[in-house]
C-alpha cells in the first residue's frame, strides 16, 4: 500500500483523486442522476443537496453498489466505472453506509478485524495450513484494530457484540472499519445523522486529524452548517444534477443553492 501523498496528487491539474464524468442513473421513470460531473480532490469535501437530490445514488454509483447507466468514474488515475465494491475497496476507495450496518452478532473487535486488507488467514488454504504468516497477520490485524478502537474511544467495547452499541458508537465503528481498509479516500454517508452534539464534535475532530494524515473524505451531510464549517470544498446536487461547487463561502451565497433549499432549510 502506498501512503496517501497530497502533494503528488494535486500536482497535475485536472487529474483529481476522484473524478466523475457525466454520470447518469435512472430508476424506472425517475432520473436519479442526470449527467453529473464533479472532481473531488484531497481534503474534506462536502456533498449536499435537498432530499432526493441523488447524493446516495451518486455514492452507490461511485462505490460500485449500483451500475450507472452511462458516464465514467475515475479514481486515482484509473477508470473504475462498473468495478465491484470489493475491488474498489482494495483500490483505496471505501464507503460507509447511511444507516450503520455493523455486523450485530459479531463483536466490535471482529468487526474491526474484518477490515485489514490482505490477511493470509482470510484465504482458505492459509486458514487450513496456518503457520507463522497466519499468526503474524492476525497479530498485525489485532494491533491495528486495537489502536483504531482506542482512537475512536471504542476500546472498552471491543468484546461487546456490535449489536449492543448505541447509535453514535455504531457511526464511529462504521468510520473506524472503513479507515482500517487503508483507503485513500473515504466516502461517509451521513456520519453525523442521529448523533448527539458532543459525539458529533468528536467525529469531526477525528476526521480533521485523519485528513491531516493524508486521508481524503467525501462527506454527505444534511446539516449544512457542519458542511460549511468543516469542508474545504462543497458540491451541491439538485434533482440529479450538479447545481454548483466551490469553497463554502461561495456556495453559501449562491442564489441557486438558496432557491433549491428554500422551504427546506435556511442557509
Amino acid at each position: 500500500m502506498t501512503e496517501a501523498d497530497p502533494s503528488a496528487r494535486s500536482a497535475e491539474p485536472g487529474d483529481a483523486l476522484l473524478s466523475v464524468e457525466n454520470l447518469r442513473k435512472r430508476f424506472g421513470g425517475i432520473v436519479a442522476l442526470d449527467g453529473v460531473s464533479v472532481d473531488v480532490e484531497q481534503g474534506i469535501t462536502g456533498l449536499i443537496g435537498p432530499n432526493g437530490a441523488g447524493k446516495t445514488t451518486l455514492f452507490d454509483c461511485i462505490t460500485g453498489f449500483l451500475e450507472p447507466d452511462s458516464g465514467r468514474v475515475r479514481f486515482d488515475g484509473e477508470d473504475i466505472t462498473g468495478d465491484r465494491p470489493a475491488t474498489l475497496a482494495q483500490h483505496g476507495l471505501v464507503r460507509s453506509f447511511q444507516i450503520p450496518r455493523e455486523l450485530e452478532s459479531m463483536t466490535v473487535r471482529e468487526n474491526l478485524l474484518l477490515s485489514t486488507p490482505n490477511q493470509y488467514g482470510e484465504r482458505l488454504t492459509g486458514t487450513w495450513v496456518r503457520g507463522e504468516k497466519f499468526a503474524a497477520d492476525e497479530r498485525r490485524a489485532r494491533r491495528r484494530a486495537d489502536e483504531t478502537a482506542a482512537f475512536f474511544e471504542l476500546d472498552h467495547l471491543l468484546e461487546e457484540p456490535a449489536g449492543n452499541l448505541s447509535g453514535g458508537q455504531r457511526k464511529l465503528l462504521e468510520i473506524a472499519r472503513a479507515l482500517l481498509t487503508d483507503p485513500k479516500m473515504v466516502l461517509l454517508d451521513e456520519p453525523m445523522a442521529g448523533v448527539n452534539p458532543s459525539l458529533e464534535k468528536k467525529i469531526l475532530d477525528r476526521i480533521h486529524e485523519l485528513e491531516a494524515e493524508g486521508y481524503a473524505f467525501l462527506l454527505v451531510e444534511h446539516d449544512v452548517d457542519v458542511i460549511m464549517e468543516h469542508c474545504e470544498h462543497v458540491i451541491v446536487l439538485h434533482q440529479g444534477d450538479l447545481l454548483t461547487q466551490g469553497p463554502p463561502d461561495a456556495v453559501r451565497t449562491d442564489e441557486r443553492v438558496i432557491d433549491a433549499y428554500l422551504g427546506e432549510e435556511e442557509l
Binding site: 500500500m1 501512503e3 471505501v94 482470510e122 486458514t127 497466519f134 499468526a135 489502536e147 482512537f151 479507515l179
Partner: protein, 431 residues
C-alpha cells in the same frame, strides 16, 4: 436383535448424519447459504465413492464401470486397500464439491430465497437423472456392490473368547464410564433445569437399555450383552468385533476429523469473513472482500463433507439407489441443525442425535401399543419432531446450544509493542 445392535445402528446413523449436518452448517450456519439441495451432494459423494471402489465387472450393473481402487492400491503396497478406499472417498468429496461449484456459480448470485428454491430444483433434477439414466449409475436398480474398507479383517478377534470379552467388554464399559463422567461434569456446571433434564434422559436411557431387556425375560445375558456393546459374542468362532461395530468407530473417527476441520475453518479470519457474509453481505463487500468467492468456497466445502457422509452412508446401507436420497433428508438435516443450534458444530451433533432418537427411538413404542395404530404412530413421530421444532424456535430461536464462540488461536507476539496512531495510516504493511 439385541438392543446393543440397535444402538450401534442408531449411533452410526447419527454419526453419518452429523457429518452431513456439519456440511450444511458450513453453508447455512456460518455462511448463511440456504441450500435446499444439500442432499444432492450426499448422493454424488455416495455414488462416486462406490463406483471408484467397486470391481470393474459387477453382475447386474450396467453403469459407468468400477475402478476398483482398493485392489489397485492393495497390489502396490501392504495396507493399500484402505488407502484405495480413502482415495475413493476423496474422489467422492471432490465430485460433490465440483457439482456444487457448477450449481453455485449461477445460483450464488441470486438472493437467498431464490437460491433455496433453485438449489432444491437442481437437486431434484439431479436425482431424476440418476434415477432414469441407466448408463450412468445403473438407474433405479442402484449399485449392489459397496466396498467395505477393511471388511476382510472382520469379525476381528484377539484370540480366545475370554480375551475378546475382557478387552472389548472392558472397552465398552470404559466408554460408558467416560460418557457418564462427561454427563456428570456437565450437570455440575449446569443449572437446575438442565440437571433435571439430564437426569431424566439418563434415567430413561437406563430404563430402556438396561432394565427393560432384563425384565422382558432376557435376564443377565441381555444385561451383559448391552453393557459390553462393543463385544459381539456371535461374531466368528470366538466372538469379537463385528463389522457394524467397527463401522461405528470408523465413522466416529471420520466425524472427529471433519469436526476438527470445520472448527479450524470457522475459528479463523476466514470464518470471520464467512459470518460477515451471513450477517450482511454488503459490509464485507464494501470492506474489500470478494464475497462471491467466499460463498462458492463455503458451498464447495460443505458439499464435500456431505459427499464424505454419503460414502459412509453407502457402506452402512450396503446398497445405494436414487430413491434413498430423497429431498426430505435435506430438511431433516436443517431440522437437526436448527434444533441443536445454528452455527454450532457441537449443536449439529446434538441436534442430529435428538432428531434420530425421536425418529428411530420411538419405534420401540410399537411394542407397547396395538399394532393397528402403528401407521398413526409413524405419522405422530414426524409431528412430534415438528412440535419440538416449533417449541425450540419459539423459546430458543438460536437452538438448544445457540451460536458457538469463536477464537483465533495465535501465539503471543514477542516483538513489537503497541504502535502509535501513525501506524494507522500506513498500517497495511506494518510488519
Amino acid at each position: 436383535m439385541a438392543l446393543a445392535d440397535f444402538l450401534i445402528t442408531l449411533l452410526t446413523f447419527v454419526t453419518v448424519y452429523s457429518l452431513f449436518g456439519l456440511g450444511l452448517n458450513v453453508k447455512y450456519g456460518f455462511t448463511g447459504l440456504v441450500d435446499f439441495g444439500h442432499v444432492a451432494y450426499f448422493m454424488v459423494g455416495a455414488y462416486v465413492t462406490v463406483v471408484l471402489t467397486m470391481p470393474a465387472e459387477v453382475a447386474g450393473y450396467a453403469g459407468i464401470g468400477g475402478l476398483n481402487l482398493p485392489a489397485v492400491f492393495g497390489a502396490l503396497f501392504p495396507g493399500g486397500a484402505l488407502v484405495g478406499w480413502f482415495v475413493g472417498i476423496a474422489g467422492g468429496m471432490v465430485a460433490a464439491a465440483a457439482t456444487s461449484l457448477l450449481v453455485g456459480v449461477p445460483t450464488l448470485r441470486l438472493r437467498e430465497d431464490y437460491l433455496a428454491i433453485t438449489a432444491l430444483g437442481i437437486a431434484t433434477i439431479l436425482n431424476a437423472v440418476f434415477e432414469n439414466e441407466e448408463w450412468l449409475f445403473n438407474g433405479p436398480y442402484g449399485v449392489q456392490s459397496v466396498y467395505e474398507p477393511l471388511g476382510d479383517l472382520f469379525p476381528l478377534g484377539l484370540g480366545s473368547f475370554t480375551l475378546n470379552m475382557v478387552v472389548l467388554g472392558g472397552l465398552s464399559v470404559l466408554l460408558f464410564l467416560v460418557a457418564g463422567y462427561a454427563v456428570v461434569q456437565h450437570a455440575r456446571r449446569a443449572g437446575r433445569r438442565m440437571r433435571l433434564l439430564l437426569g431424566g434422559l439418563v434415567a430413561l436411557f437406563v430404563l430402556w437399555y438396561f432394565v427393560q431387556p432384563v425384565l422382558a425375560g432376557g435376564g443377565m445375558v441381555a444385561f451383559e450383552r448391552n453393557l459390553m456393546w462393543l463385544f459381539d459374542p456371535t461374531a466368528g468362532q470366538t466372538g469379537g468385533l463385528d463389522y457394524d461395530r467397527f463401522l461405528l468407530l470408523f465413522a466416529t473417527g471420520l466425524l472427529a476429523v471433519a469436526y476438527w476441520w470445520v472448527e479450524r475453518t470457522v475459528n479463523s479470519p476466514y470464518g470471520r469473513v464467512l459470518r460477515a457474509v451471513r450477517d450482511d453481505e454488503d459490509v464485507p463487500k464494501a470492506l474489500g472482500k470478494q464475497t462471491y468467492r467466499y460463498k462458492i468456497q463455503a458451498m464447495m466445502f460443505g458439499s464435500a463433507l456431505a459427499g464424505a457422509a454419503g460414502a459412509l452412508w453407502a457402506i452402512q446401507l450396503g446398497f445405494i439407489s436414487p430413491e434413498q436420497f430423497a429431498p426430505t433428508l435435506t430438511f431433516f438435516a436443517f431440522t437437526a441443525v436448527i434444533i441443536g443450534g445454528t452455527a454450532n458444530n457441537k449443536g449439529v451433533i446434538l441436534g442430529t442425535a435428538a432428531f434420530w432418537l425421536i425418529n428411530s427411538g420411538t419405534r420401540f413404542l410399537n411394542d407397547y401399543i396395538p399394532s393397528e395404530y402403528s401407521v398413526q404412530l409413524a405419522a405422530a413421530r414426524l409431528m412430534l419432531i415438528g412440535v419440538l421444532l416449533v417449541v425450540i424456535l419459539y423459546y430458543r430461536p438460536e437452538g438448544i446450544l445457540g451460536e458457538q464462540d469463536y477464537t483465533v488461536n495465535v501465539p503471543e507476539d514477542d516483538a513489537g509493542g503497541p504502535g502509535s496512531l501513525g501506524g494507522l495510516v500506513g498500517g497495511g504493511d506494518g510488519d
